[in-house]
């Protein structure tokens, strides 16, 4: 059999020249008349090593990290196809790499190993086993299995997924919907993107199982327009799933129907809020809706709707394959299973780390992340996206767990960890939080719409030393008003990063006080 050379096709690998490498490798294969084939695989999530080129050898897959197109010819000369491990780019056997070896990958078990749009690859590694089980089960039993797993919404709100599904199952209606929130707008997060680009059939399978569980026949993936690569790969995967009978009017000959379509967002952060997302899907401005009624009862087009994050749906095939208990065996307290964390910003070894809940933030940033990329001391870390608090060194021993984070006034959110070295200006970061809300607020409620504009102004006054003390009190008051008075998390959480700067880095917000 022809030897396989793997070159990833996810956004990060492409952003660092993976296509140019593939061209160069193809040229070498032809010029040297070798019996080798290029496979465009997904990413292993070791993003600082992208593009990570791998070759099949008798011992396993050997990797060459951060390859450039100019290096390709030299790599062939150095015996890359024989798995020569002496070369400086060689990282050895990929699966033995400590960054991967120390992880507990349930959701990302296939990521980087397979060709993302190959159904054969997917099936060879447990793909569609969960769906096959679900087809033979009663809807209530599927919901019960998800309840047993303890899975909580991975979008950030951490609401128990099984309870949500139960509500939709129990609400009678001719038409119900499954909506996947793939509007991954939080800075520092890319786990959804990796699922969609590296293992899209897993998302398709998870949504189909959800459809079977609540009697919904139509699903939509609301994907952000900032993800062109995910868009292309998802559409290709959906088309192949239809052709192979995993989607459509007669799933695997069961007589059960599920249709799935990708809908593109249009660059509005607020559409990651579930009710705003539903308005957007209906073709309107993405305005937040007041709750109740819950989307599970009155959702898309007024019908009962399951709205879950990509990672929540992506966890479901494992649960239906191996059983809810086997998922629940991972984790701590009320945070069951694994959480795909994302190391980003100023980090030496950035990428995806899937672990059971419980690791401390410090271990994550040091043992996996290897500290900052610049080598300067780490100063602050923002967890949970632009609405998450900036955590100082004193809080880095907090375990990764929804309740433990809440206890220190932080949020785990979608698991994004953005690291900053000592050169960061925390006053500027506090200002940006308000500025971001000003740009992205949907405008429906006053505390968010006006509060963020006034917030930028007040912070500017404090920073320029204009009535700094009085304006500081005003900013405290404004933050409380936004938290208590906003309709959704956008206005309600924008003050979190601001308050964290006021509390832990006050001198950087106001030298003049």
């Amino acid at each position: 059999m022809s030897q396989r050379i793997y070159i990833p096709c996810d956004t990060t690998a492409l952003s660092l020249g993976a296509d140019q490498i593939a061209e160069a490798v193809q040229q070498e294969i032809e010029q040297r008349d070798l019996d080798a084939t290029i496979v465009r695989n997904g990413s292993r999530g070791m993003l600082w090593l992208e593009p990570l080129v791998e070759v099949d050898t008798a011992q396993g897959r050997v990797g060459y990290g951060a390859v450039s197109a100019q290096q390709v010819s030299a790599l062939f000369d150095a015996g890359m196809l024989d798995g020569n491990q002496q070369h400086e780019s060689c990282i050895g056997l990929v699966e033995e790499h400590p960054f991967l070896k120390k992880q507990q990958r349930l959701t990302f078990a296939r990521s980087g190993i397979t060709d993302p749009i190959s159904i054969e690859d997917y099936i060879a590694l447990d793909g569609f086993n969960g769906l096959k089980n679900a087809i033979a089960m009663q809807p209530q039993n599927i919901v019960d299995e998800v309840k047993t797993s303890g899975l909580r919404g991975r979008g950030g709100a951490a609401f128990p997924t099984g309870i949500k599904w139960q509500t939709v199952l129990d609400t009678p209606s001719e038409q119900k919907y499954i909506v996947c929130n793939a509007d991954e707008g939080d800075s520092g997060t890319f786990a959804d993107r990796l699922v969609m680009e590296c293992d899209p059939f897993m998302l398709i399978e998870g949504m189909t199982i959800s459809g079977l569980a609540v009697h919904a026949t139509q699903g939509y993936i609301y994907l952000r327009s900032e993800y062109p690569v995910a868009h292309k790969l998802l559409n290709e995967a959906i088309e192949r799933a239809y052709k192979a009978g995993y989607l459509g009017e007669d799933i695997l000959g069961s007589g059960k129907r599920f249709d799935l379509e990708v809908r593109l967002g249009a660059g509005a952060y607020i559409c990651g809020e579930e009710t705003s997302l539903l308005d957007s899907l209906e073709g309107k401005r993405g305005l937040v809706r007041a709750k109740p009624p819950l989307p599970a009862i009155v959702g898309l087009f007024g019908q009962p709707t399951v709205v879950n994050n990509v990672l929540s749906f992506a966890a479901v095939p494992y649960i239906l394959d191996k059983g809810g208990q086997s998922y629940a065996d991972y984790g701590m307290g009320r945070s069951r299973g694994t959480l795909p964390l994302q190391l980003a910003g100023n980090v030496k070894q950035g990428g995806l780390v899937e672990l059971a809940f419980g690791i401390s933030l410090r271990e994550l940033m040091e043992d996996f992340g290897g500290g900052t990329l610049t080598g300067k001391p780490l100063k602050a870390v923002q967890v949970g996206g632009p609405l998450g608090a900036y955590l100082p060194a004193s809080q880095w021993d907090t375990p990764v767990d929804y309740e433990e984070f809440a206890a220190v006034g932080a949020v785990l959110g979608h698991g994004g960890v953005v690291m900053f070295d000592e050169t960061v200006d925390m006053g500027e970061q506090a200002r940006f939080s308000m500025e971001f809300c000003k740009v992205e607020s949907c405008g429906k409620c006053t505390p968010c719409r006006i509060g963020s504009t006034r917030g930028v102004e007040v912070i500017d006054r404090i920073r320029s030393g204009e009535n700094a003390n009085a304006n500081w009190v005003l900013l405290e008051d404004l933050c409380e008003t936004m938290i208590d008075g906003s309709l959704c998390a956008m206005g309600g959480m924008t003050p979190f990063p601001v308050q964290s700067v006021m509390k832990y880095f006050p001198e950087e917000l106001s030298a003049a006080r």
């Binding site: 956004t11 992208e50 900032e226 660059g267 401005r285 910003g345």
Partner: protein
């Protein structure tokens, strides 16, 4: 992203007719029009409104709500610079200052020779290898100031080839 292509009322109507049967067809229609001609012309608003049985105000409201939709023709290439926190941690603030200075334009503007439009973007999901930018549909990571200049130059070159 395609740029400033010729259009007629008929060509826009064909796009609308092909999509209006979809539930919640508004965004798919707007995307298709912008993909085809690079922006959403004023004339299209009335056509969409009539086809979807909505008011022109409603259609305008949707277009203006979303950052992605534009109502004026973009330059040949659209450059988006990620302004979000992970890229900030890797120096995107100096990158955006450099980009504005070297292109001679601010955000939401187009260079005089119609080559480049500059837009901010909040996260391209390439957060472990920032700072990141997007040029048309290609995302680029670890963009230093020099790398930015190289990318701009390579996109200027293909303009010369086209003539």
């Amino acid at each position: 992203m395609t740029v400033g292509k010729e259009w007629t009322e008929q060509s826009i109507q064909r796009i609308i007719d092909g999509l209006e049967h979809k539930p919640g067809a508004m965004l798919p229609i707007l995307h298709a029009i912008q993909n085809e001609i690079g922006y959403i012309p004023e004339k299209a608003v009335a056509q969409i409104a009539e086809s979807l049985l909505q008011t022109r105000a409603e259609v305008h409201g949707v277009i203006s709500f979303y950052h992605h939709f534009r109502t004026t023709p973009p330059g040949k290439h659209t450059i988006e610079i990620c302004r979000a926190e992970a890229c900030q941690a890797m120096g995107c603030r100096s990158l955006e200052a450099h980009a504005k200075q070297s292109l001679g334009i601010d955000y939401h503007q187009t260079t005089a020779n119609r080559q480049f439009s500059l837009e901010p973007v909040y996260c391209l999901g390439n957060c472990a290898t920032g700072p990141s930018i997007r040029i048309d549909d290609d995302i680029h990571g670890r963009v230093s100031l020099d790398r930015f200049d190289e990318l701009v130059a390579s996109h200027q070159q293909d303009m010369k080839e086209v003539g």
